[in-house]
């Protein structure tokens, strides 16, 4: 027997003044999410053994993007803040990890704990940057916020060039990453190890975002998005809510950027430009704004589409010049076209389409 979950129609205000429920009810949300994570971890473990190294690399990349899209879909979908600067926040995390890893290696510091520390540092730096931007942008809405975050996105090459001694300008840095622990055996493919790291990070990101979304903070996010004045009247501190959403999503972006640095073992400003931010926007819109499943779809598409495009163009006989131009740009053209079409036709994205499908199926049976 299936029970259809009917969500009672409650206004944001009534949801907020409900007394905080402690004990079993609250515990069950966290437990539920931890269960999902455990199931996911087991699934990924087996999958990673079954696929070849290149697929593991793709899996790792998807997971890295998922760290970011999880936070970004919460920020834009649930909280209504459109940020075009998350590519720059990823850069914060990535460069921090790069510098930390290289610095620790130079000092001869080794061990399995080094990487988590670097990643945590990356998250911290990105979160601080996010706090800075968030505080400035807390009162900005719509196109004004988009414009400011667009300016943020353009700042990355400025920093890497100005402090070229540290960041090595456009050439970027290589990132030292320790190989897989000896306990896993000498023939353990590094791609699988990277996939584990990346998926682990994605799980952490998802766990934090999911729990936040289901908490009173998540409700506050939605309240401010839907009606700022009503939210204020209900006692929500609007600016603090906006900053919190921004900081958390920035931390997630920093984690994703750090993981990306580990996977590709290099960082450079061109990777983290405005185009990346626009791609992330496509990912969350396509997946479905505000949905974590949507964030997963989006991350998957970000990796799959360029890969498929390259495969398809390889089938044609093209001059190396043209092939080169297409390889970089054709996926982006498709991204742009897809974003436009989705916004016009199905603004709710894939997840919304699935929900609608689910509703029609449930109605029939």
């Amino acid at each position: 027997m299936t029970t259809t979950k009917v969500r009672p129609a409650r206004s944001p205000i009534s949801r907020l003044i409900t007394p905080r429920q402690t004990g079993p009810r609250r515990g069950s949300t966290l437990l539920r999410h931890l269960l999902w994570v455990a199931v996911g971890a087991v699934a990924v473990y087996f999958v990673s053994y079954g696929i070849d190294p290149f697929r593991n690399y793709q899996l790792a990349t998807v997971a890295a993007y998922l760290c970011v899209t999880a936070g970004l879909t919460m920020l834009t979908g649930l909280n209504g803040q459109l940020s075009l600067g998350h590519g720059a926040l990823m850069a914060c995390g990535a460069y921090t990890v790069a510098l930390a890893q290289n610095e620790l290696r130079d000092r001869g510091v080794l061990g399995a704990w080094v990487l988590p520390v670097s990643l945590a540092l990356g998250v911290l730096v990105a979160a601080l940057a996010g706090a800075l931007i968030g505080v400035c942008a807390a009162r900005l809405r719509g196109p004004y916020l988009a414009g400011v975050t667009l300016a943020v996105a353009l700042v990355v090459p400025a920093f890497t060039t100005r402090f070229a001694g540290l960041f090595n300008a456009d050439q970027g840095l290589s990132v030292y990453v320790e190989p897989a622990p000896a306990a896993l055996g000498p023939y353990f493919p590094p791609e699988r190890w990277q996939a584990w790291i990346a998926v682990g990070a994605a799980m952490v990101s998802l766990l934090i975002v999911a729990n936040l979304v289901h908490s009173r903070f998540g409700r506050a996010f939605k309240a401010v998005r839907d009606d700022e004045v009503a939210a204020k009247l209900a006692g929500i501190h609007v600016a603090r809510t906006q900053v919190l959403a921004f900081v958390v999503s920035a931390g997630c972006a920093g984690l994703g950027g750090g993981v990306l640095a580990v996977i590709s073992q290099s960082v450079s400003p061109s990777v983290f430009g405005l185009t990346l931010s626009l791609n992330l926007l496509l990912a969350i819109v396509l997946g479905g704004l505000g949905s974590l499943f949507g964030a997963a779809w989006g991350a998957l598409l970000l990796v799959l589409l360029p890969y498929l495009t390259t495969e398809v163009t390889r089938g044609f006989e093209l001059s190396p010049g043209l092939a080169n131009k297409l390889e970089g740009n054709l996926p982006l053209a498709i991204f742009g076209l897809t974003l436009i079409i989705v916004m016009l036709v199905a603004p709710g994205g894939i997840q919304d389409a699935f929900r609608a499908l689910g509703r029609t199926i449930r109605r029939r049976f």
């Binding site: 209504g80 988009a146 353009l154 740009n329």
Partner: protein, 292 residues
């Protein structure tokens, strides 16, 4: 002191271009209450077309005219074929669609022309004209000022003296009433976008020779700077756009000259944040509620 004067004139030159671009943004904002985030990408497309044509034909003027026509068409097509169909349930929809257009246009330019920086040749001498032994400006700077001033004057005349300008203003201020008075509001909206695209196209053609050259992403920073200029002047004010453009041009010139060219994006961000946090309505912010 010499350096300062030189930077000032250079800033006025860039400022003129930012002013024109900001004017394009203000035009669309007033007509449709939308910030056209695709303005830069549209300008790149027309600029590439213009320089390809002028290289092929050997005449800068022909390329320039091509940019004008191309801008008109592109603006009309974008409004008529795309922006008109964007749902207004969510105020972010217009911005997201425009950003999709940026991805698409930039990528298409990259596919057709490749991503290397191409030389965009200046039609006039780049050598500085000296006044009293101090190099002040080049003939190209004069050309820029002349062109932008002409655009501003023509637009002002269009909007204040002509019937079509009156219709466009009425359509922007009071669309429903205008329809009752026989104004085809949809057509005026398309015309507004087309005009804005032409102004953006001209700005793009003007500024690119002074940058590193033609590149699919060359107008990103110009868009950001012009957006800042429009905000400084107030999105509702065409006069503000021009003044804002000059102010931002000067600021960026000084930053570039004294602190290094790489820091200009930081300066743009700083200007944006300063205005939005201190005087969000722009320096000309006058409160005028739309009453009937």
């Amino acid at each position: 002191m010499e350096r300062f004067i030189f930077l000032t004139f250079d800033g006025l030159s860039r400022g003129a271009v930012y002013a024109a671009f900001a004017l394009a943004l203000v035009l669309i904002w007033r007509a449709a209450r939308v910030v056209n985030f695709a303005q830069g990408a549209m300008a790149v497309v027309t600029a590439y077309a213009a320089y390809m044509v002028s290289d092929a034909v050997g005449s800068y003027l022909v390329g320039f005219l091509f940019a004008l026509v191309g801008g008109l068409l592109l603006g009309a097509v974008v409004e008529r074929g795309l922006m008109r169909f964007v749902g207004h349930a969510n105020p972010l929809n217009d911005v997201i669609v425009a950003l999709g257009l940026v991805l698409l246009l930039t990528a298409v330019v990259g596919i057709v022309f490749g991503g290397e920086f191409r030389a965009a040749n200046q039609p006039f001498d780049t050598k500085a004209i000296e006044v009293g032994g101090v190099p002040l400006m080049s003939r190209y700077d004069l050309f820029i000022w002349g062109t932008v001033a002409t655009i501003v004057v023509l637009l002002a005349l269009l909007f204040t003296r002509t019937a079509v300008g009156l219709r466009m203003r009425a359509a922007a201020f009071a669309p429903e009433v205008s329809r009752l008075l026989g104004v085809n509001v949809g057509r005026m909206l398309t015309l507004g976008w087309a005009l804005a695209a032409v102004v953006g196209a001209v700005a793009g053609v003007l500024i690119l020779p002074t940058e590193l050259g033609l590149h699919p992403h060359a107008m990103d920073i110009v868009f950001a700077s012009s957006f800042a200029a429009a905000i400084v002047g107030g999105l509702d004010s065409p006069v503000g756009a021009v003044v804002g453009g000059i102010i931002v041009g000067l600021i960026l010139s000084y930053v570039s000259g004294y602190l290094g060219a790489a820091l200009t994006p930081v300066a743009v961000l700083a200007v944006l944040l300063a205005v939005l946090l201190l005087r969000p309505g722009g320096i000309f912010s006058g409160v005028r509620a739309r009453t009937v």
